[in-house]
Symmetry: C2
Subunit: 273 residues, 2 copies
């Protein structure tokens, strides 16, 4: 069976994409991953499409210094806003999180009423709705931007019982709950850290779909279909690069990964790309 030893590149505006790395490591522990987090310019979600495209091009240009077999955009904002440009400009497969999450939502909803939460840029783009309707034209999508979720997660305010995250989440989610959605797309890779809070507001009957995890599953399927998995005996691993200080990254990354970052984390001057 043919194999492909080259690594998979994964990038995000910051740390959120590590929720995709976590799933990818679980599904395909033999793969080598090169992760880039643009911690020097995070967050992307409140910025304009032009700026997001520019930053995403630089992120890809850095990753392409490695000989990769595929790139995963583990960022809802970049996936909704820059995927088409990036896929067009690059000869290797570039996968986002939007299409996989939209497909999962379309497949899993029973009522056809799907909720969607994401950054301002993601919601403004309308990309999730377009992909959902491709799969299921009669779906009704109820979308809500949640601009404070990323800063709250990055400040560790993720725990049920914290009046700050609970108040903000209740405000954002009330219209979706009132719309009686049966499926909710967590359209930003930071949001799985809020799963308990979101679940307590939406109720146990609502199916939560993590964009990062669905993106990881999509790349696993692609590599399998192309006979491009790593050799069976390979140990796999992950190299991390960030655009701001590495210490801050190492400290926070374990929250997203569920394990400590071991080995080296490199710093990248991303402006140069």
């Amino acid at each position: 069976m043919p194999v492909d030893e080259r690594p998979v590149g994964v990038f995000d505006s910051g740390l959120g994409g590590l929720t995709a790395v976590r799933e990818l490591r679980r599904l395909l522990p033999g793969e080598e991953i090169v992760y880039f987090g643009d911690t020097g310019r995070v967050p992307y979600g409140s910025r304009s499409p032009e700026t997001i495209v520019k930053y995403a091009r630089q992120d890809v240009a850095f990753l392409r210094e490695f000989d990769l077999k595929a790139i995963v955009i583990a960022c809802g904002t970049v996936s909704t806003t820059a995927l088409e440009v990036l896929a067009e400009e690059n000869s290797l497969p570039v996968l986002g999180v939007v299409a996989p999450a939209a497909r999962a939502a379309a497949r899993r909803t029973r009522s056809g009423r799907i909720g969607l939460i994401g950054t301002q840029a993601s919601i403004r783009s309308g990309a999730y709705e377009r992909y959902i309707r491709q799969e299921r034209p009669d779906a009704q999508v109820f979308a809500q931007a949640c601009p404070l979720f990323v800063p709250l997660v990055e400040n560790g305010r993720t725990r049920p019982g914290d009046v700050v995250i609970e108040t903000v989440a209740a405000e954002y989610l009330a219209p979706l709950r009132d719309s009686r959605v049966d499926t909710l797309v967590l359209g930003c890779t930071h949001y799985p850290l809020l799963e308990a809070v979101i679940r307590s507001i939406m109720g146990p009957q609502v199916d939560l779909i993590s964009a990062g995890a669905e993106g990881a599953r999509a790349v696993a399927e692609l590599l399998r279909a192309r006979d491009a998995l790593a050799p069976r005996q390979s140990r796999g691993g992950c190299r991390y690069f960030v655009s701001d200080q590495v210490q801050d990254f190492s400290r926070l990354a374990s929250l997203f990964l569920g394990w400590d970052v071991t080995g080296e984390v490199g710093q990248v001057d991303i402006d140069r790309y």
Copy 2:
């Protein structure tokens, strides 16, 4: 009397510096101001010193394309972290907000117990404390980083009665209130928008000092002392430049300025500097 028609350059990581512009326009309505807000890379306050210095150098390089008579760093984070480097590298006067705010606090405190709030980078730098102790060696400074204040302000959560800002502010400010400070330095130019919330927690007897307004006063004094004010009959005005989309800036800027942005706002590709 000698005059100097050249504009004053003012910059910030984003919109907060407009609270300094507001004061400068009030004190010296005849001056021309060139404002740069790095909205494409805001916030600076959670980043490393190296990244802040790099971004600040680029901000100054852009402003220096204009023939300026002085530059005001209307950003607590840059003032605490990069002022010395910038002042050394530039032949024109570069003023920050730290020394003026520290002087005002040292002068106005009665008990010598001074509270200080700012971004993580500002607090970590220790710069406010150093300047306060230069003026008043016996002062006791109680410092508290408030990392969620900037995102909350930028999301419009500034009003008394909002449980989110009140909970976060009460957590951050409780140690300062318990320390019975009589003066509180608002060490970030975003914080004046939270004045009502902060005052309700700290009580009416605590003197609040706005770093942005003190910085504006310092540049007014400097220009007067150097006979470098604009000619008496000049009408003054402000040109605005940002690194992200101009529409978003124009919409939010009036919150900080207290008036609408009229005239043009330009976009700058700040990476090129």
